[in-house]
Structure formats: C-alpha cells, structure tokens
Symmetry: C2
Subunit: 491 residues, 2 copies
C-alpha cells in the first residue's frame, strides 16, 4: 500500500520509494512527465521530452565510447526476411515467440515472404558481413547500430525497463581468433562499467550467465546486473561470445594469412539505452523525484528569483546576470514564471535539476546567492565573486558524489549463505544471495529450477570480477560445488 | 551508355556524371561504400559507415536548429493502430496504398488489430496531443521526432533518394491561431534554407505545391525543390499547413484566454535526413567522387606521407607531428598504409575528404607541405609556420566556396517560356520551365495533366520567394494566367 506523505503539493511525489517501489516509479513517470502509457497499443509507450533528451545524451556518450574503441556506425533496415531469420536454429527457437511479423503492404495485400520487425539484428547484419569481409586484413571488423528493436514480450511491461519496442545500441564484431573475440567481450564489459558506473552512477556486477539463460545462439553470455533498491536486480547491457555459431550458417569467412579460408569468431553486445535510463532513474531517484548525473540532466542549473515587490527589478536583473554568466557552459533555465517559489522548488527537484540558485532580496544586499544541490539537499550561501568557481566544482563532482553513495549501497545488499533456508530468508529480506552451486552448465539446470521454485530467485551466474567467496557444496543438491553463484529476484 | 574514362584506377569512378548521372551515382554509392543494395528485401538498403557518419552529423545539426527554435524532442512508438489511422479521411486515402502492416506476433498468431509501420506520425502523435494540450498556456506546442518511416513505394527506389524505409525528422506544432501556424510554416522554410543551402550547399527553391500535389490531409504544402544536375528536381523538406484538419478528428483542443474551448491550428514539417544526404552527394559530387561540406565530412583532413626509403623516419615523424597538431580540432586521418601514393590520393578524393596534406622528402628540406583542396583541386605549397593558419582558413571557407559555385548553377537552369513547344524543348534540354498557369487549385488539374503528358514535366507550384516573372496567359489553355508556376522533371 502506498503511504501518503504530508506537506507535498499536488505536483510532488506522494508515494515513498522504500515502501512501494512500483507505486513510486509510476508516480515519478507521470509527474515528472517521463513516459506516457496511454498510447493505444499494449506494451508501447511514449518517451516524453525530459526522458528523450537524457536518453539522447546517453546515446551520444555511448557512441563516442564505441568509436573510441574502433567501432564504426551502420544503418540497417529494421525488417528481416523470414528466410534469414531461420538460418541459426537456437536463435530462431529463442526469438520466434517474440517476433512481430509484417505480412501485408499497401493495396497489394499479402507479401510473398513474412518480414520480422528486428528483435535483434544478427540475422540481418551477418548476411551483409559475409559480403563485406574477405580477408584477415578486414579484421577485426567492429560495427554498431543505434536503433530500436521490437519484442512481443509475454512478461509485464514497465516503461523503460521492459517494453515491446525499445531503444538500444547493438555492436557486432568479427575476429580472426577465439582469443580476439574473448578480448572484445572484456572490452565490452569495460565499456559497460565506464558508462553505467561512471556516467550513470549505477553499480553493476557482471555475471557469466548459466547456459540455460544465455543469448539464443551464443556460446556464452556475460550480463551486467544492477540492484534496483527493492532487493531485485535488473539485467543491463550484456555481451555475447558467439564463436562460430553464426559465422558458419551466415558464411562469414575470411582468407587468413596462411591463404586458408576460415570462419570468423564473433561477438555481439547490446547496451539498451532506454532500459539503462529506466534503471538510472529508478536507482538514483528519491522521494522528491529524479536525481540525474550532471552531464545527463536536460537542465543543469535552475535559477529561481525570489521576488519581493519593491525589489523586483533588482532581483530579476541579478538572476539574468547569473543566467548569462553560465548559459554558454551549462544548460541553464531561469524560472521567472508566475508559480509560487515553493512550487518552483518542488517542480525542479522533481525534474532532477542538479543545481538550484536562489536569488532573494537579502542576497542582493549581501552580494550573495543561495545554492542547493539536488542529490544531497545541501544548501550553501556563496558570495557573488566565488559563484563561478563554486558552480564549477559542483559540476565537476556532482556525478562522482552520487556514485560514491551508490557503490556502498550495492555491496551491503549481498549475503553469503550456506543453507537453503538462509537463502530463502535472505531473498525475502531483499538481499542478493551468494552461494555454492554445482555448475552453470546445462546439467545443473535441475538445481536452478529448485532455486526458482523454492527460494524464489534466479541464478544470475558466476561473477566475472574477482571472487572472494569459496563454498564447499552446492546449496541445492549438496554435491561438491563447482562454482560460486549469485541468486536474486529480477525485474 | 556509360563512357569509360582513361587513367582511373580500379577504385575510382569510371562513369562521367554529366554523361550518365544514374550510372555515376550507382558507381559512387558502390565505390565510396555509401550504400549496399544487396540486402534481401526489395527497396530496403544498408547505409554504410561513411554515409551513416555524415547523416548522423546532419541529424545533430538539424536537431540543434529545431531546439534553438523552441522544439523539444519526443520518442514515439513506430507502430500505429489501424483505428487511429482511419480518423482523417484524406490522410488515409493518401497513405493507405503505402502502408506496411504488422498482423501477427510471436506464437500467438494474428493480432486483434492491424498495426501500421508509421509512414508518418500524425495519427500516432495527435492522439497524445489531445491528452497533453489543455490550455492556451500550453501553446505553441512544438515537438519533433528523429526517426525512420516506412512506405511501400510503387516508384523505383534509389538509395537515399527514395526507399521503403527512410530516416527523417518530423516536427509537429500546434498554435492557437491560423496566423501562428502560418508563421511556423515560414520558420520551417527558413530552417530549411539554413540547413540545405548553408550547411549542405544545395540550392533550393520553395514552392507552394498545387492542391493536387499536397500532403494528404493538409490545407497547403510548401516544398523545397533542388536541381540535381541532370535537369531534374528533387523534392527535399516540405512543411504543411494542416489548419484544423487533424485537430478536429483527433480532438486537439485548448481552452483559450476567453474561457472557450477551441481546436488548435497545426503544422507538420518533414526534413528527410537520408534524402537530403542523397541530394547532397548527388549534387556536389564530381567525377572523382564525393564532395562534402567541411562540417559533414567523416574525415576532414587526410595526411599522406610520401615515403622515400632513406627518409622514411623523418617523413613519418613530420606527418605524425602534423596529425597531433590538428587532431583535437578536426577529424584527421594519417594514412600510413602500404598502398601506393597514387591510390591513396584517388581513394581519399573518392571519399570526399576536404583537405589533403602531402609530406614528401622535398617538403622536409624546405620546411613546407603541399595542401590540396578537394572541391576545387587547388594545390598550395605552404611553409610549416603558416600551416595552422592556412588550414584554419580553408576549414572556415570550404563550405561557403562550394555553396557559391552551387548557387550560380541553379539560376542558370531556369528558362521562361510562353509557348508549349518552347516548354517541351526547354524540358528536353534539362531546363526548369517558368511560365504562366491558370491556378494551382483543383480546377487547374486538367492543364497539369497536359503538362505531364505533353511536356513531360510536373507543375512544381508557385515560387514562395519573390517572383520576378509575369505572364499574361496560361501556357496550356491560353486563358488569363492566375499565377506563375515552374515545371520540371522530378526524381
């Protein structure tokens, strides 16, 4: 049940994030005008202006990072002929239940072949790769698409987290050797840490997913899980070692230095921008509304004149002076609307603007302004001559400060357990469980089913970074443990 | 027939643009690796890396311009329920023959309602506008989408010019009055001039299209036509005065200052980025390949070391020094591959890199480099100490220089005629005809049909900017002329 808080204007969030995450998230989406679920196709939502601006900024950052790591952009058709789609058997099996099909066009009626709205682009791209890649000189071949994909999701949709149309980047790389491909998987994970942790301030941990939970057609899947504040994890970008599983059916071959024709080794990597956005606002937000990393905020500084009748001109002209001082370097908004000062405070806090500068009559007299940092609520009174420096420092440190708070939260949520009952209790208490497990190969699937049914969580896989814990036996079957896994509920 | 030129390496263009525009364009697309038509759905092509980079730059510039003019971005689903689609009768009639329909999904089979792949977004967006717009305070309401659209084209497709999936921006604005809407149409035309003429160096003329050639559902359509070098025009961005044609069926209402509920006045504007790109490369390109505006070139400066064995280190180190000098300000490529110097020259000319810097042994001795400007082929020998300044000047003036050449070309292609035979001759000679015409209302459609059948051109409409010519009679029926129109062949 949503608890109502006191003293919040109608525009503010009324549900507490801690008490009712779902209710809080829904209110945040509506009141901060981030998404509109009233579009009349189930599972399809409108991303509104404030969300689109930030998602676009995320795209530009991710694209720059991919290009720095030698990827080039491509633009692919969004329709895939059914005949392409059928070439890799596991892939078909995994994606067929989720495909939207175009079957008719214009007045001519039925098409000769069904066309899939891409649920992912492997089967569109790799036909082209087989034409473009000829020689070892063409390798590594690293390309990315910024696009949307469509999946007829059976699960409950939730704006940004899971929808039937979502916006992502997909990178598809080809190498001459398996080692080259594995090196790319590592680079993909590094890029994910850089973007998710450093830029979006979301703490993540990479897991090698169990074989029963890998990308359809991959050899191995490595996925980032983030803790979302309600004890659940959310899968964020994942990268997949495809090996030669696709290069063989799609004929992605090259002539090696030794003159022999060989199949390429492939990887694919899918950082979903809209889902990352959802994770970020859900993770960083608080009961006042959005908290946004400085670079990603649609407005970075809001200036609020606190008008008193006799000093109106003085106050407004100082506010404008401050606006002009910062407008070239930051995205600044001067809110000189007719709303009350209190409503303005609430509104821009809801919108997650990192810095508020208040200009009141007392401040004019004392040659100062009041500055409030959104993420912490800290308030500073700053002399005019120190303003530029002070804003510069906040801008520089704002995202780092959010990140520091986030990291601590994550580690505290993990609990090591040695018995099933303890695991059940930990999961019920909103913890991530760390425990011994047979393996993550298909033959451990039975133990995973027990985890799902009796513990109420999912095996997320083996942690990719350094693993401190060691367990003697599998939590479920009691046989000698082959690995350490993490168990959590997921979105 | 394509004439073969001499002395061109296998990587270069072999067809002359003047002799065979179509053959030249196809070779340009293939050899400069801009588009790949081998994707296995008819009318759907891959935009390759070099094209995608430039198109992305065009998007960023257009988006910045729209935002400067008070537009905000939105992200809409790309599917539209058939029931939305049917709300505006003329719109349905115009677009129905071109719609791709999604009718099936996953294993569940048939969908309850057919979903259109958006051919344009009016019928998706305006349902949302009716929810978002309440009061005159919400107006003007100006939004844009950067997205792709799908149209099941009957006409011949040609990469970038016309395809069954293309990439554009669509801006959809709502005003309290018809004057407000008409003001937006003017702003849209100004933005088009700014982007097309100043940034892309394509000369355009805006025409108010005849009523038989307007956007389906609009009151009036204003479209930019560009001359493409082979006597044909190409329609580039167009802006449409919708009036209340959509606001009524879609219920886009607001409460005005006087307390009364009124329907909004709307405009929509659709600058197609992929088509603008096609027009740009077709218009600016020459028999060596691409010519690109400086800001839009994926690589702006290429440095080519001319290696002589004994001086290899010296030359390479000077080339690297120059690379380092410019790499922060421009996109620079140092081509130290094994290809011959001649092949490198041809290759980067083909790719349209604006500035080539050559570093040879003689240049080292004389503390100089050789610089070649792509668009003019001009060659300069520049002392090392003047290099920075000189490059800065080329960068600043390069696009302006291209534009100056372009503008002259356009005006010279127009011919005023007073008789049908003269019109036929002018059209056959690759001219745009300027003549008297009854009107551009529906009752002049008969004369327009004669133009199409007997003259072999299309009535493009009334020129929006100042019109110098005056004609007494309609070219076709001889009745008193109601207006001056232009006739041309079009792509």
């Amino acid at each position: 049940m949503a608890k109502k808080k006191k003293e919040v204007p109608i525009t503010g969030i009324t549900v507490s994030k801690e008490d009712d995450f779902s209710g809080w998230y829904t209110e945040l989406l509506n009141k901060a005008e981030l998404a509109d679920i009233r579009y009349n196709i189930k599972g399809f939502v409108v991303y509104r202006e404030w969300a689109t601006i930030t998602i676009n900024k995320m795209y530009r950052k991710y694209e720059a990072l991919l290009e720095k790591n030698d990827h080039l952009p491509l633009t692919m058709p969004s329709l895939i002929p059914e005949s392409n789609f059928l070439l890799e058997a596991q892939h078909v099996e995994g994606f067929a239940p989720e495909v939207f099909w175009v079957t008719e066009a214009g007045s001519s009626g039925k098409l000769a072949e069904r066309l899939a709205l891409r649920p992912t682009s492997e089967t569109a791209l790799y036909k082209m790769y087989s034409l473009w890649i000829q020689s070892y000189k063409d390798l590594p071949f690293k390309r990315y698409l910024s696009c949307q994909v469509w999946r007829y999701e059976g699960k409950m949709t939730r704006p940004f987290f899971r929808g039937r149309e979502f916006h992502w980047i997909e990178a598809h790389d080809v190498f001459a050797t398996m080692e080259g491909a594995m090196g790319q998987v590592k680079q993909d994970m590094e890029m994910t840490y850089q973007m998710l942790q450093d830029e979006l301030a979301i703490p993540i941990i990479f897991f090698e997913r169990p074989q029963w939970d890998k990308f359809a057609g991959a050899l191995k899947t490595f996925a980032a899980d983030a803790l979302m504040g309600s004890g659940k994890v959310l899968q964020l970008p994942s990268t997949h070692l495809l090996g030669q599983n696709f290069s063989k059916p799609f004929n992605v071959k090259f002539v090696d230095k030794d003159g022999n024709e060989k199949f390429g080794y492939q990887t694919c990597y899918g950082p979903a921008q809209s889902r990352n956005y959802g994770a970020m606002i859900a993770y960083l937000g608080d009961d006042k509304g959005l908290v946004l990393p400085f670079d990603l905020a649609p407005v970075q500084i809001v200036i609020i004149p606190i008008i008193y009748k006799s000093k109106e001109d003085l106050i407004l002209s100082k506010a404008k002076m401050i606006y002009n001082k910062f407008k070239d370097e930051y995205v600044v908004k001067l809110d000189d609307s007719d709303e009350s000062v209190g409503n303005k405070f609430y509104y821009w806090e809801l919108k997650g603007v990192p810095i508020r500068i208040e200009v009141g009559p007392k401040d004019i007299e004392k040659n100062q302004v009041v500055i409030v940092k959104r993420h912490s609520g800290e308030k500073f009174t700053i002399k005019d001559e120190e303003l530029q420096n002070f804003i510069g420092k906040i801008a520089e440190n704002y995202t780092k400060e959010i990140k520091e708070k986030s990291i601590i939260d994550f580690e505290s949520q993990v609990e090591c357990v040695y018995e099933k009952d303890a695991a059940i209790e930990a999961i019920n208490n909103g913890k991530i469980v760390c425990c011994g497990f047979c393996s993550i190969d298909m033959d451990a699937y039975r133990c995973a089913e027990v985890v799902e049914k009796e513990i109420g969580g999912e095996v997320r896989g083996i942690r990719v970074d350094e693993e401190k814990h060691e367990f003697a036996t599998c939590l479920i079957c009691g046989k000698p443990a082959g690995c350490t896994v993490y168990i959590a509920k997921s979105y």
